[in-house]
Symmetry: C2
């Protein structure tokens, strides 16, 4: 299998290196051949080529079976007046590969409850997955800027909503058959279309799945007040961005959470949900678990290697159980390094 | 003073009735004359007049010194295909009165820590206020709908950003001189303008105030992970909607939180941040504290009655301390009614 690795910026190279080690170990143990190719994206690509997503990187991703990404962005490229930004590379990649469904599972682990701001009794048994629409909405609508105003257009088509809701309902079938669709239908036209389409898709195609609707403001509350109430959550791009960072607090750290971005094609993009964390970059202390678990999702969703994926997931769980925790999770003074955690997983 | 009361829908009439009793008690005790006039808005106004904000209601509000509102909306008027919706009444009122700054203070109270999903040690000393931009952004931009697509335009002008950031900085001066501005500047053009303008206003006009920037996704995390880190938070309309509902969980219940919406004119709009809660409407069990505390904000911001405002706030605090709690806050089986809480505050 061909796997493109996009380290990106900040802690990106450190966490992808960790996940690559784990992938190599899986290949050896299970007798697979993984061809791993590194390409630049984001700020690193701007520095090297002037563009956040060089054509060669996109081409390589298109030809690959799967893409593993670290993170992009950093203060070096964050001047609000800059013409090119690292994030454009990531957005263009998601769009270029047609990856409209971003799956972000959240399953708090006993060993990390201490790191969560949420009371532990609310977290027992939480097992939810957010399906975030990833190639539409206000992220991709027309942007305008004049001396005195700026605008961003939020647009959705029936088809864009249908396919991501379908994906969420399919996922629910393998879980607890429950989907909550999140919108702001009392204010936004796109949300009213979203609600109509979601209702129709669920009714006509998934009579066995229960669909409920929540307004995004209420959802921001319920997500932390009663997280056990959720199975699959489906929502548009921007709401999904906000709600998944919030949901990461259920798991105790953003550093733990993986994601898979899928489209109709075979190639999927796998990345931790955390950012490039420039403040801790280069110090060898980043939590590699989100990226390692993203590699597990890669094995499952793009390569069909279910056993291998579970092997990684169990290894990460065991390492957390054993208390090998990076600084985002460990009690003060007891933090393991990226290398410690990676070695323990291996 | 002339105070317009807009009960609205669902629990709106119950909670405004409670706050009106408290205002009358304040008038008697301190020797003020409050002229209270009720007008319809939202679903109630649609039923009565066909319009969510009848001209007579808007006129009365324009002439008043202050407006106290309950909540609008409910399933009766929520058909996605409906031509008029209760929420339009509220949005038109905010816009019609030029109320661009929505102040939402959050100060967890010892007696309600048990009801919060957040660990108590994180909540001690939390005292933050969100300043939400209220008459711009995606709520008010052009909306379009065709058979197969929908769109909402998010727009901001320099002036709209300046005035709300200024208000936030002024507020910070009376507090801890610290403002966090929330945007999504790595993706949105409106957010890049927001960040530029906020930076300039703070630098040129408020050198004594520290301004920091946060991306909205990170903020959704930090708000619950380290709520003590925040003093004043300023953000655009939609982000403010989401973040304040989330922030309400710090206080233990949405039902506790008041808000004040202010513009350049003298008239302010005061409303709890909760919605019309149709599921519990008419049962006499709604938490009136958010509306009673909104009445306190009304006395402070529109009528300049600082002592009277504090009198109400202390009464509410004492009632919570005494354990007179509605169902949203009370241990199971020990809930007080709306009337119990109101009587205790009186
Ligand atoms: C880096 C940024 C563009 C990105 C997003 O907003 O989608 C990130 O926050 C994420 O959630 O993957
Ligand atoms: C009812 C709705 C239009 C309103 C809003 O989104 O502004 C409400 O959620 C609020 O926060 O006051």
């Amino acid at each position: 299998a061909d796997i493109v690795v996009l380290p990106g910026d900040g802690i990106g190279p450190e966490v992808t290196a960790a996940a690559v080690e784990v992938l190599r170990a899986v290949a050896t143990r299970y007798g697979h051949q993984f061809h791993l190719h590194e390409h630049p994206i984001g700020g690193a690509a701007i520095d090297a080529t002037g563009e956040p997503l060089p054509a060669a990187t996109l081409d390589a991703c298109r030809r690959a079976d799967a893409v593993l990404l670290g993170a992009v962005g950093g203060p070096k490229w964050s001047d609000p007046k800059a013409k090119v930004r690292p994030e454009q590379g990531l957005l263009a990649l998601r769009k270029g590969l047609g990856l409209y469904a971003n799956l972000r599972p959240v399953q708090p682990h006993a060993a990390t409850l201490g790191a969560s701001p949420i009371k532990p009794h609310l977290l027992a048994g939480v097992d939810l997955i957010v399906v975030r629409e990833l190639t539409g909405g206000i992220y991709f609508g027309q942007k305008q800027r004049s001396e005195t105003t700026a605008s961003d257009l939020c647009e959705y088509s029936v088809e864009e909503i249908e396919r991501v809701v379908r994906r969420a309902c399919q996922l629910a079938r393998g879980r607890r058959n429950h989907v909550v669709s999140v919108d702001k239908a009392n204010v936004l036209e796109t949300s009213r279309l979203w609600r109509e389409v979601a209702t129709r898709v669920a009714r006509d195609e998934f009579p066995d799945v229960t669909l409920e609707h929540q307004l995004v403001d209420s959802m921001a509350m319920h997500l932390i007040a009663k997280p056990r109430a959720f199975d699959v959550i489906v929502t548009e791009n921007m709401f999904g961005d906000i709600l998944t960072d919030e949901a990461s607090m259920l798991a105790g750290s953003l550093g733990l959470l993986p994601s898979a971005s899928l489209g109709e094609g075979k190639v999927g993009l796998y990345e931790p949900i955390h950012g490039s964390a420039p403040d801790i970059a280069g110090r060898g202390i980043a939590n590699p678990c989100g990226t390692i678990l993203s590699a597990a999702m890669l094995l499952r969703h793009s390569l069909g290697l279910q056993t291998e994926a579970e092997c990684i997931e169990q290894a990460v769980a065991a390492v957390l159980d054993a208390g090998v925790l990076t600084a985002d999770l460990a009690p003060a003074g007891q933090a393991a390094t990226t290398a410690d955690v990676t070695a323990a997983v291996l």
